[in-house]
Symmetry: D3
Subunit: 277 residues, 6 copies
C-alpha cells in the first residue's frame, strides 16, 4: 500500500489516519552546490532518506506517512548564486504554518520535518513551537548526519565540509551519480577559519551569520575531490536506519507523564485551534 498521503482521497485520509499516525514532510532545497553537484542536491537527499525511512518504520509497525516534499525552502545564503530558488524566511514560515493548519484538520497529531538542508534548521525549529502552540500538533524536526571528511574517511575538511563537500558529494554519487561531475570539483576548505576556534557554523560557543560566498567566491565549503559512492552508501544506510528509529520513538512519544493524566484528558490538541486567514 502506498505510504504517500497525497495518493489517498480526502475521505480516505479521515478513515485511515489516527492520533498515532506520524506524518513526515521532507524539506530539501534547490540551490547552488558548486559546479559538481546539481541544484536539487538537498531535495534529492531528503526525499531519498525520508522515503526509505518511512518504508522501514512502517515495516516495523509505525503508522508513518510521507507528505509531498517541500522542494523550495530557505536558501538565502546562496541567493547570490544564479540557479538558487529561494524562499525568504517569512515565506517559508507562512508555508509551514499553512501546512500545519492543514494537517490539524486530519486525525493525525504528529508532524515530522525530515530536513536535508542546513539553512532550514533554525527556521524549522522556530516553526515547531508555532505549530504546537497554534494548532496543538506534536511537532518534531530531524535531519541526518552527512559527516565532514576527517583525514581517515575522506580528506581532512577540518570540520568545515558542510556544503558540497566530501560527505554530500559521496551521498550524491550513491543516489544520483548521473548528476555529479567530479571533474569540476575543487578543494574549498576555509582553512583560515581555524584561527577562530570559538566561531563556527554550529556547536561552537559563537555561531556566525554567513553567506556561502563569504569564504570563497565558488560558494563551496568542503573538499569534494575524493568523494566516493561506497562511502555515500554507508552515509545513506545510517541516515535511513537512524531516521527509522526516530520515527518509532516519535510514534509512542507523549509529553505528559502517564501517571499524572486523568482518563480522557486531552493531550494538548486544540481541535480547530486558532483559525486565522
Amino acid at each position: 500500500m502506498s505510504r504517500l498521503l497525497e495518493e489517498l482521497s480526502g475521505p480516505a485520509v479521515t478513515r485511515t489516519l489516527t492520533a498515532d499516525s506520524v506524518l513526515v514532510l521532507p524539506t530539501g532545497a534547490i540551490e547552488h552546490h558548486g559546479d559538481h553537484l546539481p541544484l536539487a542536491t538537498d531535495r534529492i537527499m531528503a526525499e531519498a532518506v525520508a522515503t526509505a525511512a518511512v518504508e522501514r518504520a512502517v515495516a516495523r509497525g509505525v503508522d508513518a506517512w510521507l507528505l509531498h516534499p517541500l522542494a523550495y525552502t530557505k536558501s538565502d545564503e546562496h541567493s547570490w548564486a544564479p540557479g538558487t530558488m529561494w524562499l525568504s524566511g517569512e515565506t517559508l514560515m507562512a508555508t509551514l504554518v499553512d501546512l500545519g493548519r492543514s494537517v490539524a484538520m486530519t486525525p493525525a497529531r504528529r508532524l515530522v520535518f525530515l530536513n536535508g538542508h542546513g539553512g532550514n534548521v533554525a527556521l524549522l525549529q522556530v516553526s515547531l513551537r508555532t505549530l504546537r502552540r497554534r494548532f496543538g500538533l506534536q511537532t518534531f524536526l530531524m535531519g541526518f548526519p552527512v559527516p565532514a571528511g576527517d583525514g581517515e574517511v575522506g580528506p581532512d575538511e577540518l570540520g568545515y565540509g558542510i556544503h558540497g563537500g566530501h560527505g554530500e558529494t559521496s551521498l550524491m554519487l550513491h543516489l544520483r551519480p548521473d548528476l555529479v561531475d567530479l571533474g569540476r570539483a575543487e578543494r574549498r576548505v576555509p582553512d583560515h577559519l581555524g584561527a577562530h576556534p570559538r566561531i563556527g557554523f554550529h556547536s561552537t560557543p559563537v555561531i556566525m551569520g554567513w553567506l556561502s560566498n563569504d569564504f570563497h567566491p565558488d560558494g563551496v565549503i568542503g573538499d569534494p575531490t575524493g568523494a566516493d559512492a561506497t562511502h555515500g552508501a554507508a552515509i545513506f544506510e545510517t541516515a535511513v536506519e537512524e531516521s527509522a528509529h526516530s520515527l518509532e520513538e516519535i510514534a509512542r512519544f507523549d509529553p505528559v507523564p502517564p501517571i499524572s493524566r486523568a482518563a480522557g484528558e486531552p493531550t494538548g490538541d486544540i481541535p480547530g485551534g486558532t483559525r486565522q486567514a
Copy 2:
C-alpha cells in the same frame, strides 16, 4: 539531456540559459477531489502535461526547461475537507514572488506557469504582472482544457464538471488508474444552478465566490461515474500538443514592435530591478 533545471549545477545554469530560454513551472494542488480521486490529482495532471509539453517543445527547437513543480498551492475552496493541504493566497503570492526573484538572477527572461488547478488561476494572473513589474520578467500563464461532459462525450454535466467530474476522472484513469476508485464515484452535478444562467464559475457575466461544499457536502462538482481512460488519453494528448504550441509561441514572443525599437534597446528587463511596491 535532462530538461529539469534542478538537475543542472548553479554555474551550468549561467552557462546554459539565455534570454530566449523558457522556464516552465507546473502548479498543481494537493486537495480533496471526492472519494474517487487522490488528493494529488491536480499535481499529477500538471506535472504530466508540463513534462510532456516541454519535451515536445524542445524537440521542436524551443529552449524550454522544467522547474521543480509547486505541489502545495491555493486550495482554500476545499479547506473544509481533511486532506487538503492549502496555502493562503498571501503565502502562494509570496512564494511566486520569491521564485520570480530567483529566476531573475538567471539569464532567462521567460517564465511560464503551467497550471493544473482552477483555484490558482486568478492569483497566478495577479502574479504575472507583479513579476513583470518588479523583476522585468516576461511572464505567462497557461492551463489545459479538461472539458465537462456534454451528453455526447461523457454524461451531460451542464457545464459544471469542474472538480472531480468526467474529464478530470478520465484523465486520471489515463495517467494513474491505480489511484482512481470509480466504485466510490457519484453524480454531483449542481443542476439547480441552471436557474441562474448569468452566474457561474467563469466566462459568465457574473462570477461567484464559492467553496466546494456550497453545492453538495461531498465537495465534488460533476459526474465522474462514466469516466473513461481512452477519453482521458485524448484529453492528455490535446493538452500536451496545445501546450507545446504555446511554448513555441512564447519562445519568440516580444511585446515591443520590432520596427520601433532602437538597436540594443532593452526589452523591458530591469536587471537587479527589485522595485518594492
Copy 3:
C-alpha cells in the same frame, strides 16, 4: 428613496437590510489613460453603470443598494505613468477584506463588485472566495463589456482595444464629453501582437503579464481616433441593462439546492465569522 447605503444611519441599516439585500460596490481606477482621457475614466464609467443598474434593478423589485465606490484600486500596469494613483495588490486585498468584514456586520449577505477596471479583475476574483470563506458572504463579480472596434463598429483594433481605445473613449464621450480631448488621440494598436495569436490579455490559451508601456511608450492600447458618443450611449445602455439583469439573478441566487436543504439550515453564513484585527 436614496439607494446610497451611506445615506442611511447605522440603525437604519439594521432596520432596512435583509438577507436578500444586494450590496453593489463600484470599483474604478484613477490611472493614466493616454492624453485624450481623464485619469478618472474607469471610476466614472463604473459609477455611472452601477448607479443606473441599481436604479433599474430596484425598479424591478430587487432590494439593491449602492455602496460608496472604491476609486483607488490596483493600477500597477500604469505605475510608470505620473498621475496614476495605484494601490498595490496587497493594499487592495486588505481593503476588500476590511469592507467584507464590515458588510458581514449588517443583515445583508450578498456583496457584488461591479468593476470598471480590467486590472482589478484577477484580484477581485481572488477576493470573492476569501470573503465567502472568512465572512460567509455570497460574493459576486461583474463588469460590463466595452467592445473593441472591429472595423464595422469603429476602427479595427484587432481585439486589442483594451485601454483608451475606441469603446472606452466612446463611452466617455457619452458620459463626460467635457473630459475627452479627441485632438490628442492617436492610434496605438499593437499590430505586431498578431504574430502571437495564442498569447493575449484574456481568453487566449496563454495569458501574459504586461505593463501598459510594453507596447508603446504612450501607454494606450487601441485606436481612439474615431470614437463616437452615440456608440458610447449604446455601450452604456447595454452595460446597464445587462447589469440590472445580473442583479436580478443575484437577488434570487442560492448555491444550495432547495430540495436537499433541511428547514432552518444555514446557508453557509458564518455570523461573526473570523474576527481578525
Copy 4:
C-alpha cells in the same frame, strides 16, 4: 478650469503640476453616527470643506488641486455598529503609503490631508513622517473645528460633543438637511466623565483609548437635540476660510531657511527615493 486632479489626463498632470502645487486629499469616513445622521457624515463634511477651500485658495493664487477623496478610513471605534465600513489601521496606512508613492511620481511635492474624521488623526500624523521620509514629499495634516456646544451656542456638551453632537449635526443640517433626522436625536453627553478631568479625548494630560459604545450603547457622544442649520453655516464658513488660509501658507512653506541654502540645493526631495523601512 476643473481643480479635480482626476479630471486631467496623465500627461496633463506632468505638464501642469509643479513643485509649488498643493495636492489636497479629503479623508472622511463611512461610519455609525447615531440614528439621526447618515453614515457618510464625515465624508460629506470633509469633501465639502475641501472643495470650497481649494476653490477659495485657487482664487487667491494658490496652485491647489483636489485629489479624489478617501471615503473608507479608520473607524474601528465604531466597528461594533452595523453600517460602519472601516479599514484597519494597517490597511489605511498601506493606502496612504501607496498614494504617497503615486504622488511622488508627479511634479508636485506638497501633499495635504484635509481630514473630517477624528479617528483618523493619529494615524494620519504617523503617515506624514512616513511619506516625508520615504518619498521626500512635504506632507501636511489639517482638519477643521466643529465646536462642542457650550451652553451659549448650543447645549452645554461639557466639551464632549465629539461624535454626532451639536456641531456636527448643525453642520450637516447646513450641508445635507435631507439626510438629518432630528426626530431621532437624543442627548448623549457622558456627564460622568467630568469626574476625571485629567483624562480625555485629546488636549488633556491623559489621552484614553475608547470605543464609541464605551459611554452609551447608542454610540453618540454629544447632544444633537438643538442642532441648527444657521450655526452649521457659520461652522462651514469658518472651516473653509481657515483651510484656505492654511493652504496659502502651505504653498509657500519651506523648512530650510532660505539664507543657508545654496542655489540649486534640493529641498529634501528624494527623487525615486523609495527607501524601504
Copy 5:
C-alpha cells in the same frame, strides 16, 4: 516592596494584581539628540519620571506597577543620524500589540504608556484604541511637559525647543549631568518657521511631516546653550507630580456611567479577547 512587575514571579502576578491595578510602561528612545546629549536622553527621562511617579502614586494608595521600559521605539525622524536605533512604525505597533495581549492575560485591566519621546505620540495614540478593541484593556497615554524656553525662563526658542533644546538639556543636567556636554551645544532655533504661523509640530492648524535634519543638518531643534540643572529639577518635579495625579485618576476611571450599569455587568473586558498568533 518592589513595584517593578518583572521582579514578581508569574504566579505572584496572578495573586497580586487586580482589575484596579495600573500598569505603567515607560517608552523612551535611543536616538540622536545633537552632540551635547546622549542617545539615551528620552529613555532616561521617561524612566526617571515613571519610576518616581509610580512610587508617589503608590504612596497615595494607587496599586501602580512599573513594567520594564521600552527603550527602542519609533525614531524615524532621526533615522539619518548614526547612533539612532529606531523601530519602524509597524514594528513598534506589533510590539505594543504583543505586550497588550500579554497584559490581558493578567488580572490587570489598566495599561498606561508614559512616554518620553515626541516621535512616539501619534503611534501610541493609535495603539490605545487597538488594545482597547482587541483585548478589552483600558488604555491611557501620558507624557510630561518639557517646556521650550520663552526668554524669561531660558532663551527664547519661539516655541521650537522640541529636540535637544533648553528644557530637555536642563532636565538631563538634573538627571545625568555626566552625560551632558554643554561645550558642544549650539543654538539651533528655526527662526524662519515664524513666517508660517499656521504650520507647526503640534497644536497648530496644520501639522507638518518633518525629519530632524529638515531645519538644520545638526538635527537639533532649540537652544540648549543656557540649559540649567535647577530649571531641570523643577521640570522633573512637575512631571512627577502631574504624572502621579494622573495615575490616581486613572486608578478610579470607569468609562461607563455607574447609574446605568447593571450589577455584575462587565466593563468591556474581553477575557481571552482576540487570540491571534
Copy 6:
C-alpha cells in the same frame, strides 16, 4: 569611560566606532519561571553576563560596546502563563531587522547577540543571516552555559534542568538573591521523557516542539530545590570569562582568507545595502 553605547551622543558614535568595534546586544526575556524566580530572570542573567564580559574584553583591548538590552523577546512557550510578556516571532524578527539596519548606519560592522533565553536561540540564528545578507554586517550569536544538575553538582536533573532548574536558580541566587524564593521551589524533572532518548530540547537526533506546560502545569523544567549561590557564582564566572574570550575572537574575525583578498577589496559589507527580500 562608559561602554554603554547609548551614553554617547550621535556624533560621538561616528567619531568613536570603527569597523573593528564589537557591539553587544544582550537579549533576555520577561517570562514565567515558576513561583520561585522572578519574571526577569533571563533578562537579569543576560545583562549581568554581557556587562561583565564587555568590561573584561575591553580591559584586554577589544573595542567592545554594550547596546541597550532587549528585555521583551520570544517567550511563546510560556504564553499560557500570566506575567509572561512575549513578542511573537514576527515581531522579534522585525525588531532585530530594525536594529540591524540602525547599526549598519554606524562605522561598526560586528554585531553580537549575547542571549540569555533559550526560546530565542533559533530565531536569533535566523536573524544572523538576514542581517548579514541585507546589511552586510558580521553577525554573531553567543549564549552561556547554565548546566543542569547531574547528581554530583546539584540534583540529577537528567539533562532536563532547562527552565527554572538548579543552574538558573543558583545563578539568580548569586545575582539577585532578593528575588529568589526557594521556599516555593519544587522538583519538576520530566523523568518520563527518559523513555524517549532520541527526542529532546536540543542536541538529540530529534528536536521537539514544546510548550512549558507540556510536562507539568507549573511550567518549570528542572529541580531548583537545592540551588546554591556559590555554584551560581561559578556559573557566572565561567560565563563571563568564556564570553570575553569569544568577544576577543570576534574582534579579529574575518571570513575571507587574507591571502586571497586584493588590497582594498570589501569584506562583504554592503554600504547602504538594504536588499529587499
